[in-house]
Symmetry: C2
Subunit: 150 residues, 2 copies
């Protein structure tokens, strides 16, 4: 498995993975051609030096995983940088092979390289398996993740 920055040609494969999930299918609009809103968002992500949208590809060059790493500067923790992970998926045909763990270990190393002091994420309480996966990597559920849809 190779992990690399996503490019515009990967957007369709990424959105297909985001949509292929009980929660994701309710909020994504996966159809071909893909709605322009996804490409506009890709451009914003790709042109922001604090966003790293990543894909994992297999030996055949097929995209089989994705995550987005965001680096956020704060005054808190003596002016510390935080690394935040969101939009994580492994293609359904490639689950249960430890690829998610590899992708996360990459992200944690990348956060260290960037001198972040913490890696953070929120996970929907409706995903108990995801919660256990994150705990197995050393994440602690010390916080409530609160959302207000506007």
């Amino acid at each position: 498995m190779k992990i690399r920055r996503a490019n515009k040609e990967d957007v369709t494969a990424i959105v297909e993975m985001l949509a292929n999930d009980a929660l994701g299918e309710q909020r994504e609009d996966y159809k071909l051609p893909l709605p322009d809103s996804y490409y506009r968002a890709f451009h914003k992500i790709d042109s922001d030096p604090n966003q790293e949208l990543m894909v994992a590809e297999n030996k055949e060059g097929i995209v089989i995983g994705t995550l987005q790493l965001s680096l956020i500067p704060y005054l808190t923790y003596s002016g510390g940088l935080r690394a935040q992970i969101e939009a994580v998926r492994i293609h359904e045909n490639y689950r249960g092979k430890g690829l998610g763990k590899k992708l996360f270990l990459w992200a944690i190393e990348r956060a260290k390289e960037k001198n972040a002091h913490v890696v953070q994420l929120t996970t929907d309480k409706k995903r108990p398996k995801a919660l256990r996966f994150y705990e197995s990597l050393g994440f602690k559920g010390t916080h409530e993740g609160m959302k207000l849809h506007i």
Copy 2:
């Protein structure tokens, strides 16, 4: 109360508020002159168009509150922008007067102006009063907020 972008001259007052708290005092290094790391972080925040570090000041121009609003572009939710709130404080002499609510209502309006679809935050489970405050504003604790200190 006036809400405005923070400038370099506000950093001391902001860090004093961040440090004046049972959790904050363990992780901030508030002393005068302020450690350079705070000014380096302020520069990163101030030069990033997706970060809005805000202060609230009273009629005398004294800084009595702060929060940081971050706008993060994602492919999820059909390429939706998220607004994230962190590093919220009201000066201890000005609590219980509804100023935190005013500051939050400002942030929610700002998130709408920016076309964000959600406002999100995480709150330490050791702060039950903060949790009830966010719930009173309509936030739902649907997610676990997970941290890995590195």
